[in-house]
């Protein structure tokens, strides 16, 4: 059968002639092959609610992107080795010398500072994002898994920040990482194995930097990428939670917002440039951790404090009085384990369990699709602010001996102030709720 069907032939020939203004536009090269319009049809019209606090998670994702790109650039120069080499007549660890080289190139130094600042911004954005989700109660059904993955992302980002401390191999790096090694080893039974695994044998050893470097540039970023993708897929699948006003405007079961493509994408693009611009300004004018501030490692220990995002653990470590700990057969629980491993693990664990600790999540069978005004849930607001006050007091506690307080005084402050704050917030919002009555109460669940 050589000849094609005559009817088809004639239709194809006739079309270009008869078609004028009503003619469908010729599909582009990519469209012909990939049918992108079908993709756009399916996902591009997804509605994304707009609220000023809905950009915090995106800010974290953008910071991550910037961290990856700047990190790749830095990795092209950086050498993960502690072997001593001669640089301008001075014996220096190779890693330190390579960071010195980065600092000596203005453009590379800017990128290093952007990398450092982006880490701070990413962690701050994740925390603020978590506060927004917590105080508006949107971690509840159906978004428990999204919250769980979010806590995991926070933990991995903190870990990435800590491992990043080690890389410049200055006096600060060696001290801070050495403390991390001590904490890892303090874990009962498996501590020594874990310490050797993650720090490349007894720290500091020649194996330490290659291992920490691989963890910092491959293991953690890939894990973050995977978990973040899952986190975003869940948002796409379950739809974003909505601000309260959407309940009046949109039909039940519908999402009020702007379309993913092009409107939301445009906003995200603007945010990318805003974050990048802000980071570049910070990097250019506010130096972070210049090598000269600590110098190469020495036998002495500089008085180091970790960055703000780990300072609460540091504060708690300082609060542990002498003689705390116990030995049960082969298991030794020391003050380092209690303060540096068990305490932060319980804080992260409590965060993880939030959706299951919230009783309203069990009582109400419908889905929580709208942000709840924080004062409407006095207990949650009080516990949340109380927990924040506790962390703030731990930051304060990391300076207690410099301020001249005794251990007893600072313990009293750390324990009492958060309780007072929580009690005050609880009674205030309780009274407000009672006064307004049930009329003004907003139901954050979906009617559908």
């Amino acid at each position: 059968m050589r000849k094609t069907h005559p009817t088809e032939q004639s239709a194809a020939d006739a079309a270009p002639i008869s078609c004028t203004s009503t003619c469908p536009r010729k599909a582009g090269w990519l469209e012909e092959r990939l049918q992108l319009s079908a993709f756009q049809e399916k996902y591009g019209h997804k509605a994304f609610p707009v609220h000023s606090t809905f950009f915090l998670g995106e800010t974290a994702a953008i910071s991550f992107l910037i961290l990856v790109v700047t990190g790749i650039y830095l990795g092209l120069i950086y050498t993960p080795s502690i072997s001593e080499i001669s640089v301008a007549g001075q014996r220096l660890p190779e890693a330190f010398a390579s960071v010195q080289l980065i600092e000596s190139i203005p453009a590379a130094n800017l990128i290093r500072n952007v990398h450092h600042w982006a880490a701070h911004v990413m962690i701050a954005a994740i925390l603020l994002h978590a506060f927004r989700v917590f105080f508006t109660g949107t971690y509840r059904k159906p978004r428990e898994l999204t919250w769980l993955l979010g806590v995991l992302l926070l933990g991995m980002t903190l870990a990435a920040g800590f491992v990043g401390y080690a890389l410049p191999w200055d006096a600060f790096a060696v001290t801070a990482t050495g403390i991390g090694f001590g904490l890892a080893r303090s874990i009962p039974v498996v501590g020594h194995v874990l310490g050797d695994l993650f720090f490349g044998g007894a720290f500091p050893s020649l194996g330490s930097l290659p291992r920490l470097y691989t963890i910092h540039v491959v293991v953690i970023p890939l894990s973050i990428l995977g978990v973040m993708s899952l986190h975003l897929l869940l948002v796409l699948k379950q739809k974003h939670s909505m601000p309260g006003y959407a309940k009046k405007l949109a039909e039940p079961g519908k999402v009020l917002g702007i379309s993913l493509w092009p409107n939301h994408a445009l906003l995200a693009g603007q945010l990318l440039f805003l974050v990048l611009g802000g980071l570049s300004l910070l990097a250019a004018f506010v130096p972070v951790h210049p090598l000269a501030a600590y110098g190469p490692p020495t036998p002495e220990t500089p008085a180091v404090k970790p960055d703000w995002y780990l300072l609460w653990i540091f504060g708690f470590l300082k609060l542990i009085p002498a003689g705390v700990g116990m030995t049960l057969g082969p298991v030794t629980i020391g003050p380092e384990f209690l303060g540096g491993v068990l305490f932060p693990a319980s804080v992260i664990g409590a965060m993880t369990l939030v959706p299951w600790l919230d009783r309203t999540n069990r009582r109400v069978l419908r889905r929580f699709e709208y942000l709840e005004p924080p004062p409407q849930a006095p207990l949650r607001l009080a516990l949340g602010v109380g927990a924040l006050a506790f962390v703030a007091m731990l930051l304060f506690a990391s300076y207690y001996d410099q301020i001249g307080l005794t251990l007893g005084q600072i313990w009293l402050l750390v324990l009492s102030l958060p309780v007072v704050v929580a009690a005050a917030i609880f009674s205030w919002s309780w009274v407000t709720r009672q006064r307004r009555g049930s009329v003004a109460r907003f139901d954050p669940t979906s009617d559908a």
């Binding site: 001290t175 403390i179 194996g207 020495t298 470590l317 300082k318 002498a322 003050p335 380092e336």
Partner: protein, 207 residues
């Protein structure tokens, strides 16, 4: 179009709800058991696959620094110029006033942080008389303790504020540390220098 395999349908094709349960049971059971066994086998295989990663993880060795520790007879030398000496030059017992302290390394072993020694003069005396020597590595998390004593003539760790008493065998005076700094016997060496006369009497740093 969704294709869902319900256990009912696959277990007994053509199963009808009118069937009495006594007839249903013999049909369902062998297939269910096979599925359970298969499920277990898949689970065990997946678990074994995951566990097999533990072996390469456990043998992940790394290059270690060759770090000789302190030995009897090692001459103690200054670490830096803070207390008036020159780095690498032998420490002289007569250099320290009462309440003075210095960080020292055994000669030629400055690569090993664990052999860092803190000597403190707690009383007047000739040679090593009135001197005490401890490991300078904090037993809390392995920071080096401050070279200078604090206002109360106690040894302070700059990291988390542990305090040790040099007069009382470096016993812990304030937490978070829970173990005294290990001590080390010292003796007079040639030309007024000081030598190690034994090994540390406890493990160095956090355990």
């Amino acid at each position: 179009m969704k294709h869902i395999l319900t256990p009912d349908k696959t277990a007994s094709p053509g199963n009808d709800h009118d069937h009495p349960s006594s007839l249903e049971e013999p049909l369902r059971q062998p297939r269910d058991r096979r599925r359970t066994v298969l499920g277990w086998m898949v689970g065990i295989a997946a678990g074994a696959f995951a566990v097999s990663f533990a072996v390469p993880a456990a043998v992940l060795k790394a290059l270690m620094l060759d770090k000789p520790g302190i030995a009897i007879g090692d001459v103690l030398t200054y670490v830096d110029t803070t207390t008036g000496g020159q780095p690498g030059q032998p420490f002289k017992a007569s250099d320290l006033p009462i309440g003075g302290s210095a960080q020292l390394f055994p000669m030629g072993k400055a690569d090993n942080q664990d052999s860092l020694v803190l000597v403190v003069r707690i009383a007047a005396g000739d040679g090593v008389g009135g001197l005490v020597a401890y490991s300078a590595i904090c037993t809390h998390l392995g920071c080096a303790v401050n070279e200078k004593l604090n206002r109360d003539n106690l040894i302070l760790c700059p990291c988390h504020g542990s305090v040790y008493d040099p007069v009382d065998h470096a016993a812990v005076r304030r937490g978070p540390s829970d173990r005294a700094l290990p001590g080390i016997p010292i003796a007079d060496g040639p030309n007024g220098s000081v030598i190690a006369n034994g090994l540390f009497d406890g493990p160095i740093g956090p355990q």
